[in-house]
Structures are given as C-alpha cells and as structure tokens.
C-alpha cells in the first residue's frame, strides 16, 4: 500500500451526511455529492445516514453538509433560510465539514448577487464575495490544479488535478480569510482574473465544479470524509487516512475527461469534412 499515513479502520463509526435543500439547490445534479460521500463511507463499514434536508424544516444536525447549485431565486431563499436557522454556522464551529458547489459555494460566502445583480448576504462561512460577471456565462469543462496551500490528503500528498463542469455567471473574489482551492488550467473558475478556482478555510470548501465534483474527484471525497471522521477534536490534525477503494471506474472517467480537455482541438473544417464523407 502506497499510503503514507496509517490507514485507520472506521468500521462501525456513525456519520450523518446532509444534502442541504435539494428542493431549492438541486438543479445541477450536485445531490450526487451526498450519495458519493455516503456510499464511500458505507463501503468502509461506516454506519451512514444520508439526509435530504428540505428548506421548510430546521436543518438537521450532521457531520458533513453538501450545498449544491441552483437558480437565482431559490439561491436567495436558501441563503436566508440557512442564516436564520444558524445550525450550519454552529455545526461548522463544532467541526462539521461543508462542501458548497456553484450557487452553494457563492451562498456560503459573504455576499452574492441575486437575479437583478443586487448583493445578498451569504452565510459567511467562507471569506468570498461574489458579484455578477460582465461577460457571458462560464459554461464548459473545467480543469484546475490544487494550489500549494490547498488542503492535502491524509497521506500528506497534494490532491490530484480537479475535473468538472462549470456553469455560472458569477465572479468570486477570495478575501484574506480564505485560500484558493486550485489554479485553473482550463475553463474560468472564480473568474476574477487571478486564475483561481474555489476556496477553502478550515473544513469548509467551495468550488464551481459540477459533475458532480466528488464523483469525478474521489480523492477530494475521501478528504472530506477523512475530516468528518477525524472528529471535532482533530480540527487541526488533518483527515483520517481511509482504506482505499477499488475506484477503477472513477479513475477511467477522470482520465477520459482530462484527456478530452487536454486533447488539441480538432479544427471545425476537419469535423465538417468528416461529416461530408459518405457512410
């Protein structure tokens, strides 16, 4: 085994994974992140409860929260419901892990734009401010290499390159209280001109990657699980090293996606010619 850290058995441990407001933030398939986390924990013997938390009920207590992408109106409602309840903020202080994606990334920051571009208050878990971009929406495959100060795996290694699909019109600027997650190699990412993608601070992580991100980047999934299973007393101690899983299908998907983005573009005229050929 190549893992540099001692693999800890987590069999029999309990874990609650909460998908936050799928009724408001379920537009882009990001609910899959909750499923990926729950299955990967269960496959290692953890007793997992996967909760789909509706927006009209108090947010349940959980160890790991995923906040997905959604449309502008529902995003505003989700942010105010989360801020009012106060559960997410308290649970983060108690050591819970949060993954925000796209609209979910924006709304766990300090502020984000509504449909009219007016700033709305976010939950404030990340020192990130988002405004409406001037250009066209960022839509397409996104590849980003984790930055030097991005969180490391349980083995102390940097995370592998991140792959996903972005679809957003916001520009996110990271303040001094947070750190970029990765540097964009292909695509737009945060879009503020500094080439960054996503942000993190403590055990709170935000990204523009759909896919869902954890299905395409299982090392990131295991990092979040490792944090959640390390427990509240190990906030500075890094993630628990988990038993490796047989991820051949995820690795094949990653390789294919990265290759698709890295491959030189086939010129349009050549594609047109190929279509013209009989048969």
């Amino acid at each position: 085994m190549s893992a540099g850290a001692d693999v800890r058995s987590v069999a029999g441990r309990r874990l609650v994974v909460c998908v936050v407001f799928p009724d408001l933030l379920g537009t882009y398939g990001d609910g899959g992140n909750g499923l990926v986390l729950a299955r990967r924990a269960a496959w290692r013997g953890v007793e997992v409860e996967l909760v789909q938390a509706p927006s009209d009920r108090p947010l349940p207590e959980a160890d790991l929260y995923t906040v997905g992408g959604g449309e502008d109106g529902p995003q505003v409602r989700a942010a105010s419901a989360l801020a009012e309840g106060g559960v997410l903020e308290r649970r983060v202080a108690e050591g819970a892990v949060v993954l925000g994606v796209c609209a979910g990334f924006q709304l766990i920051g300090r502020s984000f734009p509504d449909a009219a571009g007016r700033p709305q208050a976010g939950v404030g878990l990340l020192d990130v401010t988002t405004r409406k971009g001037d250009g066209p929406r960022a839509v397409g495959e996104l590849v980003a290499a984790p930055s030097a100060d991005a969180p490391r795996t349980a083995s102390g290694l940097p995370l592998p390159r991140l792959t996903g699909f972005e679809n957003h019109g916001g520009v996110s600027v990271i303040g001094p209280g947070a750190v970029p997650l990765a540097r964009v190699e292909r695509g737009v990412g945060n879009g503020g001109g500094d080439g960054t993608e996503g942000a993190w601070s403590g055990r709170v992580l935000g990204t523009y990657l759909h896919g869902p991100v954890l299905a395409r980047n299982t090392a990131l999934a295991d990092l979040l699980l490792g944090w959640a299973l390390a427990g509240p007393d190990a906030v500075d101690g890094g993630p628990v090293a988990l038993e490796p899983l047989d991820d051949f299908e995820e690795l094949a998907l990653r390789a294919e996606r990265l290759e698709a983005v890295d491959a030189p573009e086939v010129p349009g005229w050549r594609r047109a010619l190929a279509r013209l050929r009989p048969g």
Partner: protein, 447 residues
C-alpha cells in the same frame, strides 16, 4: 388599401418571399446532393436569411397548431397530426416530423408543402415566443417544463417568463376571430403559470410525476405543495391548480361534464396516454377551425380524435421493436431526468421485467454537454436487472451506476452493447434500449 387574399395558403407573394422560398429549395437540393441528409434545416436557414419574415408568410392562410414542452413534443406532434389528417373536410396536413423544431425547420416543412392547409408544428421551448408571434396559431399545446440541457437553454424559470410574455400577447376571442386556444397541462405548475396569461385556456390534468423543478412557487417564491389528490397549491399566495376542463385518469379522458372517453394506444406508457389526452382536447378546436367533420357530417368530438390515435405504433423509431439476434429490442428515447424517470415507469409497467437494459448516453451539443443530470435519475430502480452502459459518456453512466449499486457491463459502441445484451437475454427474450437524443440517433443509424 385592399389586401388581396393569396391564391393558395402559404403561397409566396412578393419578390423577396419568392426569392426566399427559392433559396429554401435550392439549398435543400444542394444539401441532398452533398449527402448531408434531407437538408431541411439548411434550406430553412437560407430562406430565413433572405426573408426574416418568411415564417409568417408561409403560415398565412393555414390553420396552425404548435406543440411545445420539455418532454413528449415529438410524439404529441405526431399524435396531433394523425388526429386531424384525413378527417372529412380537412385538407392536406404538414408537420415538421423530422424533429427539426426551430424556425429553420418550420420554414423548411412549410415551404416543402405549399398545398397543406393545416400545419402541426413541434416547437423548441426557447422558440415558442417567436412562433406565437409569426405563425398566428389556432391551437397551442403546452406539455410540461423541467430541467433539460442547462448548458444551452435558459433555466426553467427564465423559460416560464418568456412563455408568459408570449402567451399574454395572444388576442382575446372576439366577434371576428375565435382566438387562440391554449391547451395546457394543469398538473405542471410551471406550465400553469406560463399559460395563466393566455386569454383562452383549456386546462388538462395530464399528470406530472416530476416535481423537482417546481417546488418554488413561480408567482411569489413560496412553496408549492403536491398533495396526493393532485390539487397542488402554493402555501403563501393563491396560485393553485386551475379548475380542469379534462383529466387523464388511467386509460380514460374524463371531461368536466363527467363523460369518460377511452384512450386506446399502440404506444406504451402512461405519459403517452397523457399526451393523447392533451391531443384530444387540442384537436377538437383545430378540426373546427379546419372545417373537419365526423363521418356523419357532425361536429368533431374527442371520441373521433381518440379513435384515430391507435394507428401510431412508433414515432421516428421511438417505441419501435426491432429483431436482433433472436431477441426483440424495444427502442426508447429520453433526454433528461423527468424523461428517464417516466421511461423507468414504462419499463416496470409494460414489457419483460427481466429484460436486460442497454443505456446509452452522449453529451454532444444537441444533448447538453453536462452529464451531471444523470445523478438526478433514479437508477436505483434498476437494481436486479442486467444493465449495459454505452455511448460517448458510458464512463459517466458506469460511475453513476456504481453509486446506485446497480451491476453493469460497459461496452463501447451501441451495436456491440446491444449484441452483448441480446446474448445475456438468451433466445426469444426481449431487450430494452434507452438512449438520449444523439445516442438514440447513433443506434438507429447503426441498425
């Protein structure tokens, strides 16, 4: 100034339009000669480039029906065209049945059928406003609105707002004209909100299993509740399901006068019975406008319409059964989470529950480039069946199936995948093939 009626419906009047129609057929001939298919869209584009008002000119003098929505457009368009074509008193009917559902496709279909007096047009959701403005429809059928191709088309609520504006501009019925009849699915709050601005609506309770895109009230931002009796309502404002003019209940269409009318189709699935119910309600005013009569010279009725729909056994290959290596393969197409969920219902309701299922997914421009939607599809329902994943994005499917804990094989190429499934099925058994848009087309081409 007097306006002389044109000699025949849709006939070119004026030099610019004549040139534009000429451009349509010239490009179509060139396209066919180059082996680029029928070239209908290329021709339509050329025509619109010469005369941007061509669509309106070509529609003039015809009775026009539009069919739009996220899912079921092509099948519903075919059912509606079948319902009216050949009815006593109705002239030739034209329909854009190749799936080219944007203005260039409409222009090509209309320019290619100058004698047709009735046009039944499938319309891409994003172009409904333009068609409403240009084609002066007699009837508009609105099926449903849910997430689809998020990278390309506006999100659901933006589409709703655009529909609402377009339908609000329809003329109210008056002494001179009957006004456009909008036939809308009352069970979909997004459709109900969009159609709420139209002056003349026939509300059909056609059912809608997929509610994930309609939880937030489009009127006030409150929450829409979906009780078991189907009478959804917002918990904050007075937006609620409109009073129904007709409802699809199982295999019957129940009208508000209490009469029940059997829906008997060759096509499978509850969603097709729902489509047929919408067609029955829409075809009656379309037939009235087109001068249609029943066999005894009487006014057209829903029973006249429903009786004609069983002749449709497949729609551009969808729902067809083809033999392959001793097995019967049923071909199914669905493009988004709502569509795939409806097809899973169909797999459980009709067909062999032990039949292997080939799933094929592409992510080309026509499909939407983002495959994240696969995680909104309840693949968990396939546990216990033999599954073969194929298509350009078979690896995305494979990972999704792994997390659904559904055993599967991955095979490159739709025919190879089909043959693999046929071998798994064994002699005399059946196989289901479900693909999204271009994946389905790939298989049909290969067969």
């Amino acid at each position: 100034m007097t306006v002389r009626p044109t000699a025949r419906p849709g006939a070119p009047s004026g030099l610019r339009t004549t040139t534009a129609v000429g451009a349509v057929s010239a490009v179509n001939r060139l396209s066919r000669a180059l082996g680029r298919g029928s070239g209908t869209v290329a021709g339509g584009r050329a025509g619109l480039a010469v005369d941007p008002g061509l669509l309106g000119v070509l529609a003039t003098g015809r009775r026009v029906a539009l069919v739009s929505g996220t899912n079921g457009k092509t099948t519903t368009t075919r059912l509606l065209a079948t319902a009216v074509a050949g009815v006593d008193g109705v002239g030739p009917v034209v329909s854009n049945d190749t799936g080219a559902n944007m203005p260039a496709g409409h222009v090509a279909a209309l320019a290619g059928a100058p004698d047709a007096t009735v046009a039944v047009l499938e319309v891409d959701e994003g172009y409904l406003g333009r068609l409403v403005g240009d084609a002066h429809p007699d009837v508009i059928v609105l099926l449903n609105l849910s997430r689809d191709q998020l990278d390309r088309i506006a999100e659901v609520r933006m589409l709703v707002d655009r529909w609402r504006t377009a339908l609000g501009g329809l003329a109210a019925p008056g002494p001179a004209a009957a006004g456009t009849v909008v036939v809308a699915n009352a069970d979909d709050p997004m459709v109900a909100f969009a159609a709420g601005t139209a002056p003349r609506v026939r509300w059909v309770g056609a059912g809608q299993v997929w509610h994930d895109d309609a939880v937030g009230c489009p009127a006030c931002g409150g929450r829409i509740r979906f009780p078991d009796d189907g009478r959804w309502a917002c918990d904050r404002c007075d937006f609620a399901r409109p009073a129904l003019d007709a409802e699809v209940v199982g295999d019957e269409l129940v009208l508000s006068d209490g009469t029940r009318h059997p829906i008997r189709l060759a096509l499978p699935g509850q969603f097709n019975r729902a489509n047929a119910g919408m067609v029955a309600v829409a075809a009656v005013p379309l037939l009235e406008a087109a001068g249609g009569r029943d066999g005894n010279g009487g006014a057209p009725t829903v029973d006249l319409v429903l009786g004609r729909l069983a002749s449709v056994t497949e729609v551009a290959g969808r729902f067809a059964t083809v033999p392959r290596g001793g097995a019967d393969v049923r071909l199914l197409l669905a493009k988004n989470p709502a569509g795939w969920t409806a097809v899973f219902d169909l797999l459980e309701e009709s067909g062999d529950v032990a039949a292997p299922v080939v799933l094929s997914v592409n992510a080309r421009t026509a499909d939407g480039l983002d495959t994240s939607w696969l995680w909104d599809v309840p693949f968990e329902r396939l546990v216990g069946r033999s599954i073969v994943a194929t298509g350009d994005r078979r690896l995305d499917l494979a990972v999704r199936l792994r997390y659904a804990e559904v055993a599967h094989d991955v095979v490159d190429g739709p025919l190879a995948a089909l043959d693999h499934a046929v071998r798994v099925a064994g002699d005399g058994r059946s196989v289901e093939f479900l693909g999204n848009y271009t994946a389905f087309a790939d298989l049909r081409r290969a067969l």
